[in-house]
């Protein structure tokens, strides 16, 4: 056993640091550092830089354009990116539909769609959840009826993150209403510019516009946009969800969050002393940091056993649960740290990138909105209750 990095890994780390220094605009790093809203352009600039370098799709096999990194290299890359305040990579193309296309798509689909994902020239979004489906994804109702060379799609999707920016959406649709619930589902790629597609914003508790409802009214989709076989979409969907959960522990992001929390606690005053000197608050940060370390080493153990040939199993559900709890706890403590200055709500500063002066310290502006917002992490991607059901069934056989 050895925790140390090899010389080659050290060199790789230096290369990543160097790349970020050269390619990440300072104003974007600053927005990330302070938890502010990123524009579509911010994301695109960063992702296209990574794309040009061949680093955007770190988990893809080499033959589809991935960089062929080891698990350790991925670990280093993710950590350095978080430390240096890089924007998170939008997963819908890179981690979700991309792997589905190169695993289950035909040659033509690979040629057509993979380059745009690798280079981040096309923005994808996800059409999984529906208003009535929630955690019971397979109950979806959006219909796709074959008519000649097209499917005619009717229905709606919801919780479509950043759908307002997207050029393409991948959708689970029902192609056979008579089959058993999971068997009538197909996986379809839809051009968002198609007539009949309408995107409606959903405003979140923090006031931000980050998710949407997408409505489909007689949308014509060419049959060549069907991935794999009709009726086998559920298989691809499960494959995608398993991929989605990798990295969902968000350890590097949470490390940055804890560091930021410490800075807040060093800056906030209580009775003339920094809050971090207060035993009770210090205990809370210490406990959180220890939780995060336990999560990090659990993830490392899983990665290490995967590298040794073990497949990523349902135990990644652990990572989702604990990862979300830790993300939530960080924001909870930030609200506690800023005291009264959690109260002012400055939407211009938060969402429209205004240059308005913050009311309290700059970090206080985002404290409560982030706390409200990250309640979603224990809900999306299969709620934590569902994750525990999965572990109980798949790991414990209960």
């Amino acid at each position: 056993m050895d925790l140390n990095f090899t010389e080659a890994d050290q060199k790789f780390r230096a290369e990543v640091v160097d790349f970020i220094k050269t390619n990440l605009p300072a104003e974007i790093a600053d927005k990330v550092k302070h938890g502010k809203h990123l524009s579509k352009d911010d994301h695109m600039r960063w992702q296209q830089a990574l794309g040009r370098k061949g680093w955007l799709v770190a988990s893809w096999p080499k033959k589809h354009g991935g960089p062929g990194w080891t698990a350790t290299q991925k670990y280093i890359f993710d950590n350095v990116c978080a430390e240096m305040n890089c924007p998170p990579i939008i997963p819908f193309g890179t981690k979700m539909v991309g792997p589905v296309i190169y695993t289950f798509g035909n040659e033509e689909q690979k040629q057509r769609f993979l380059p745009g994902i690798r280079e981040s020239t096309v923005w994808w979004c996800q059409g999984y959840s529906e208003p009535g489906s929630g955690s019971d994804l397979a109950s979806l109702k959006t219909r796709a009826v074959r008519e000649g060379d097209h499917y005619i799609v009717n229905g709606s999707k919801t919780w479509t993150t950043l759908g307002q920016y997207a050029e393409w959406i991948f959708c689970l649709v029902r192609t056979d209403v008579n089959a058993k619930q999971q068997e009538g589902i197909s996986f379809l790629l839809i051009d968002m510019k198609s007539p009949g597609v309408e995107v409606q914003p959903i405003i979140m508790a923090d006031g931000g516009h980050e998710v949407n409802s997408v409505f489909f009214t007689d949308v014509k989709v060419p049959v060549e946009n069907l991935i794999g076989k009709e009726g086998e979409g559920w298989t691809y969907a499960k494959f995608l969800l398993a991929n989605e959960r990798s990295g969902i522990a968000a350890v590097p992001q949470s490390k940055r969050g804890v560091e930021s929390l410490k800075r807040i606690a060093a800056s906030e005053q209580q009775d003339g002393k920094p809050l971090i000197q207060d035993g009770a608050f210090r205990d809370k940060i210490a406990d959180l940091e220890i939780q995060l370390q336990a999560l990090e080493f659990t993830e490392l153990r899983i990665l290490s056993s995967e590298a040794a040939g073990g497949a990523p199993g349902p135990e990644v559900s652990f990572l989702k649960i604990r990862g979300s709890e830790i993300q939530q706890r960080i924001t909870e403590l930030a609200v506690e740290a800023v005291g009264y200055y959690a109260n002012p709500y400055l939407p211009g500063l938060l969402w429209q990138g205004s240059n308005e002066e913050p009311v309290g310290p700059a970090y206080a502006t985002t404290a409560a909105p982030r706390y409200f917002n990250v309640r979603k992490t224990s809900i999306y991607g299969g709620s934590n209750e569902i994750q525990k059901n999965i572990i109980a069934k798949m790991v414990l056989g209960l």
Partner: protein, 381 residues
């Protein structure tokens, strides 16, 4: 020992309940919050008409001469409706400061008008560095002639934008964190040298940052005794703490009712999600928290008038700890059980959650009051 409401109290409860039911539908509230002041003059006039603005004030001043039990009844119902009108700031902070510490002249000038709904107040006690320490005060009040000159900054002044008068805590003597040397001053909103930065809050209320640049006030502006403002301030805040905890109980009840209804009707995997045992137990825990919060508000309303300040302080801290813990548990639970809908602005769930979160952040959060309670407890041990 008698823990039931009397007839007058029951009538008061019914009348506030009716107001909330009739005037505070969720979409109405959304509209009200988007007005210039963030609340409705017509509602305020109704409060005056129904006597609610006079509850804690003496009959001499035109009030009802009631106490914390009754203001808690009002606040609980306001919590159910997430009422936006500045009852807390005007009646329970500003009004109580004048009623408990003000001179006869101040009381005459302010209380009848307040009770009639003609005057709005605010209490400016927090500062950027003060956190929850009420005697960490840098704003200075320098004696000049018969009066004082106030300079400094006050932060997160609730109802600052609408207040006609602002009661400002300033230092007349002592070091920055000395308990002795804090004095309260009544300052007119149009006073020369007073500037405000107004802003909305997370929970759709309004507040201000105040800058005082050599604001001159007369000797008659002192509320209470010079240098002894801390005791008055603490008493007023302790009482307001109980009231805001009652409001939190209203929020929790509303959230629990909404969540209970939701899990009974929302179906997943072919059954109402309320059939899942884990959600059932979580709902049970949420109800238990609300019950215990109600019990603690009851406890505090009955102990807040105790002649022994330590009893009052412990009661206020105990209930605030309970509400901090329970408000978080119920708020987070309600969001979680509502799933995706719980984190949107569309449902009232997130609005109650936000209010409960902000309630924890004012007058000392859970940790502040746990520490305060523990210190009083250890002194007695």
């Amino acid at each position: 020992m008698d823990l039931s409401l009397n007839d007058d109290q029951n009538m008061l409860k019914d009348s506030v309940e009716r107001f909330v039911r009739e005037q505070y539908a969720f979409e109405t509230r959304r509209k009200n919050s988007a007005t210039a002041t963030g609340w409705l003059e017509s509602n305020w006039a109704k409060f005056a008409e129904l006597g609610w603005l006079g509850i804690p004030f003496s009959e001499d001043a035109g009030g009802l001469g009631w106490g914390t039990v009754e203001t808690a009844i009002v606040m609980e119902q306001f919590g159910r409706g997430l009422v936006l009108e500045p009852y807390l700031a005007t009646v329970l902070l500003g009004g109580e400061a004048i009623a408990r510490g003000g001179s006869a002249a101040q009381q005459q000038a302010i209380l009848p008008a307040l009770i009639e709904g003609k005057k709005q107040l605010a209490l400016a006690y927090a500062e950027k560095q003060s956190r929850y320490n009420l005697h960490d005060v840098t704003t200075s009040a320098k004696k000049e002639g018969a009066g004082y000159v106030l300079s400094g900054h006050k932060g997160v002044v609730f109802n600052g934008p609408s207040a006609d008068h602002i009661i400002v805590a300033a230092r007349t003597s002592g070091g920055q964190r000395d308990a002795k040397g804090v004095t309260l001053f009544l300052v007119d909103k149009n006073a020369k040298g007073l500037t405000r930065r107004d802003y909305p809050t997370q929970d759709a209320s309004r507040a201000s940052e105040l800058t005082l640049d050599k604001v001159s006030v007369g000797a008659d502006a002192v509320v209470g005794k010079v240098d002894d403002g801390f005791a008055l301030l603490e008493e007023v805040i302790d009482r307001a703490t109980v009231a805001v905890c009652a409001e939190a109980v209203g929020c929790m009840d509303a959230l629990n009712a909404a969540t209970h209804e939701y899990i009974k009707t929302r179906k997943q995997f072919g059954v109402p999600i309320g059939k899942f045992q884990v959600l059932q137990h979580r709902m049970v825990d949420m109800f238990t928290h609300a019950q215990e919060s109600r019990s603690m508000v009851l406890m505090a309303t009955l102990k807040i008038d105790d002649a022994d300040a330590a009893v009052r302080r412990k009661a206020a801290s105990a209930v605030k700890v309970q509400i901090g813990k329970s408000g978080r548990f119920v708020g987070q639970g309600a969001v979680q059980l509502h799933g995706g809908m719980g984190v949107t602005d569309e449902l009232n769930v997130s609005h109650y959650f936000k209010r409960l979160t902000m309630i924890d952040s004012i007058f000392g959060n859970q940790q502040f009051h746990l520490t305060r309670y523990g210190q009083i407890m250890a002194e007695a041990a």
